[in-house]
């Protein structure tokens, strides 16, 4: 498994293996049947039990750190605290069944609705710009006669290794009028200096951080998929006189559709959960309330307001909305295009 890219481009990259070329959630890797040859029952049983034993650690961790918390969150969301008497002493605070009251409260909460709208606006900037840039850079990397290819690839990927908190700090300081080179330049030519950390520009400022941090990883996913297209596919088009642009639009983009779907999926989920970047920028501005994103509101309700029941209901609503939105958009993109299926 060496990097064959530099030494044997083109034909050598033809996918001889159906397994890894479809990094989609539905892309089940090839699996060879475990043929258990004739052997005493004990050995056969050992082979039969082995996969379950191998999966035991993952199963335990899944039960304790995924299934149990999710179940507990749902349970919490259906309960509330009832305070008896003065609320003093043992047993004065009891968890009682609340039905869907927490959910109605969450769904009618105007602050949550505002946060949801903010995040939709933010996502409407981040996802298209980030994936558009990722696709563009991947196609450019896959273009002939491009120089400084590996330098550009590494540089664009680099922000992936920068924590979101640190990325928000770096950009946050670059947005500060007294520090920023942009403001310096604007000042030099006598233009007014905009406040990037409030109002409408704040969305662009936050979106920029996400785009900066996320483009590289998505570019790598798409580029990997591009490189697995066998060169013969282009040959015919080239002989027919197709330009590189036509090849990119008509052949390459349709062929990498599965990886576009995958990156789209991950981007939506990450966007709806944005937390660290706006939280980090808060100390630098008054323009970001503690409930700017729904996730920040959940955190605030649970750990500042101390109402874990309401916060759990909000979290469940948020999770369901994430599923509905990501699968809904996936569906829409699939029905609009025959090619867009994950393999």
């Amino acid at each position: 498994m060496t990097d064959t890219r530099r030494t044997s481009p083109g034909v050598a990259d033809a996918p001889r293996h159906g397994a890894g070329d479809a990094p989609g959630p539905g892309g089940a890797p090839r699996t060879t049947t475990a043929r258990v040859h004739a052997s005493p029952g004990a050995a056969r049983r050992r082979v039969r039990n082995a996969p379950y034993l191998f999966l035991l650690p993952a199963g335990l961790l899944f039960a304790v750190f995924f299934a149990l918390p999710i179940g507990y969150a749902v349970w919490l969301s259906l309960h509330r605290i009832e305070v008896k008497g003065l609320g003093l002493g043992r047993g004065a605070r009891q968890e009682v069944w609340a039905g869907l009251a927490n959910y109605t409260a969450a769904l009618t909460d105007s602050e949550l609705a505002r946060g949801a709208l903010r995040i939709l606006g933010y996502g409407a900037i981040v996802v298209p710009v980030m994936l558009g840039l990722a696709l563009l850079f991947a196609l450019l990397l896959d273009t002939e006669r491009v120089r400084a290819r590996s330098f550009s690839r590494l540089a664009i990927f680099l922000p992936y290794a920068v924590p979101g908190v640190v990325a928000a700090m770096l950009w946050g300081f670059l947005y500060l009028p007294d520090v920023s080179p942009f403001h310096y330049a604007l000042d030099a030519v006598g233009l007014p200096r905009p406040d990037l950390l409030d109002g409408g520009p704040l969305f662009l400022a936050l979106a920029n951080i996400a785009v900066w941090g996320g483009t590289g990883f998505n570019m790598i996913v798409i580029y990997t998929s591009l490189r697995s297209i066998p060169a013969e596919v282009y040959e015919a088009a080239k002989l027919d006189g197709a330009t590189p642009l036509q090849i990119a639009l008509r052949i390459k983009i349709p062929m990498v559709a599965p990886s576009l779907v995958l990156t789209f999926f991950f981007s939506i989920i990450a966007t709806l959960q944005v937390f660290s970047e706006p939280t980090t920028l808060r100390p630098l501005t008054n323009g970001i309330p503690t409930t700017w994103s729904p996730l920040m509101k959940v955190y605030n309700d649970a750990f500042v307001g101390g109402n874990v029941h309401a916060a759990s209901a909000t979290a469940v609503v948020l999770a369901v909305a994430t599923f509905v939105l990501s699968f809904g958009l996936l569906r829409a993109s699939n029905s609009g295009r025959k090619q867009g299926r994950t393999r």
Binding site: H17, A43, G59, F62, F65, L174, S180, F266, Y299
Partner: protein, 308 residues
């Protein structure tokens, strides 16, 4: 240079000044290799510049003293790097270095555990046929889609009930199972391990566990390195979980520590230089790590690419 159409024999001649035939004629004529495609190259370099800008800034800004930060031009180096480093090291008896060590511990140890779990699970899912295999795989994959938010609160409450809140384990354990890691593990195992070898091992009387350790793990190792790196970065960059789980700043990872420093800096801008120096020191090691490892490791592996 990767020229997808050029036959392997035709070497790209590095014709520096000689650009034969600037007008290409009909597009069916294959463009001669060796010339630069100016627009794509420029666009990529622009993208690289955009991505390097904040990193370059933090390298410069960390050399500035508190007054230089707000008074001199952004990309003009200052004179305060030594003082900044000393101040940061002295801040609260060197708590910053403690945060870095904690981050290294969470990310390093967590990634090792995570890689082990991903390897053994991916191997089981790729090599064996058993009832419920696809169901197990799909259930694990939904974990990818599960927003950490729905997990974080109940995880904290459950961990608190178990008396483990504000401990190293409370940050370490929830991140050990990585759905994406298991997914990658399955792909690498399916691509790298020929069933004939597993069969041969069984014929020789080796147990299943021994076959996994002696045959499968070595063959999966490039993939395992990838899972390790992916998880290392994921845990190193994580903010939400330690932010929720931890109260004692002696146990903070670097992300949470820097955040608390910045939050205090809002009141006292003198702390800004500490934040900037801290951010610089947080970025540099990971960048160095990537520059070193990309010599023998391909980024493509990160998205599940398998080359044999």
């Amino acid at each position: 240079m990767t020229d997808l159409t050029a036959p392997p024999t035709r070497k790209a001649a590095p014709a520096a000044g000689t650009t034969p035939g600037t007008s290409q004629g009909p597009p069916s004529v294959r463009p001669r290799p060796g010339r630069i495609a100016p627009l794509p190259t420029a666009a990529l370099l622009l993208g690289a510049l955009y991505c390097l800008l904040p990193v370059a800034w933090v390298l410069v800004a960390s050399t500035k003293s508190g007054t230089e930060l707000f008074s001199t031009f952004t990309f003009l180096p200052g004179s305060g790097l030594g003082d900044n480093l000393a101040d940061l090291g002295a801040y609260r008896e060197g708590v910053y270095w403690r945060w870095m060590a904690n981050s290294a511990f969470y990310a390093g140890f967590g990634a090792v555990l995570s890689t082990a779990v991903s390897a053994v699970s991916g191997y089981a899912l790729a090599v064996y046929r058993f009832r419920g295999r696809e169901a197990v795989f799909n259930v694990l994959l939904t974990g990818v889609l599960m927003p950490p938010v729905i997990l974080a609160i109940p995880q904290y409450l459950l961990v608190a009930k178990a008396g483990m809140a504000d401990t190293y384990l409370s940050v370490l354990l929830p991140l050990v199972l990585s759905p994406y890691g298991v997914y990658l593990g399955r792909i690498y195992a399916a691509a790298a391990i020929p069933m004939e070898l597993v069969e041969a091992g069984r014929m020789d009387g080796a147990g299943e566990w021994r076959i996994f350790l002696r045959i499968a793990v070595p063959m999966m190792s490039p993939g395992l390195v990838t899972i390790f790196l992916f998880q290392f970065v994921a845990i190193w960059n994580n903010f939400l979980l330690p932010y929720i789980m931890l109260g004692d700043d002696e146990k903070f990872p670097m992300t949470v520590g820097l955040y608390t420093l910045l939050a205090q800096g809002a009141a006292t801008p003198a702390l800004y230089t500490l934040v900037i120096t801290g951010a610089m020191l947080a970025v540099v090691p990971l960048i160095a790590l990537f520059l070193v490892i990309q010599r023998f490791w391909s980024l493509d592996l990160l998205s599940g690419a398998v080359k044999s």
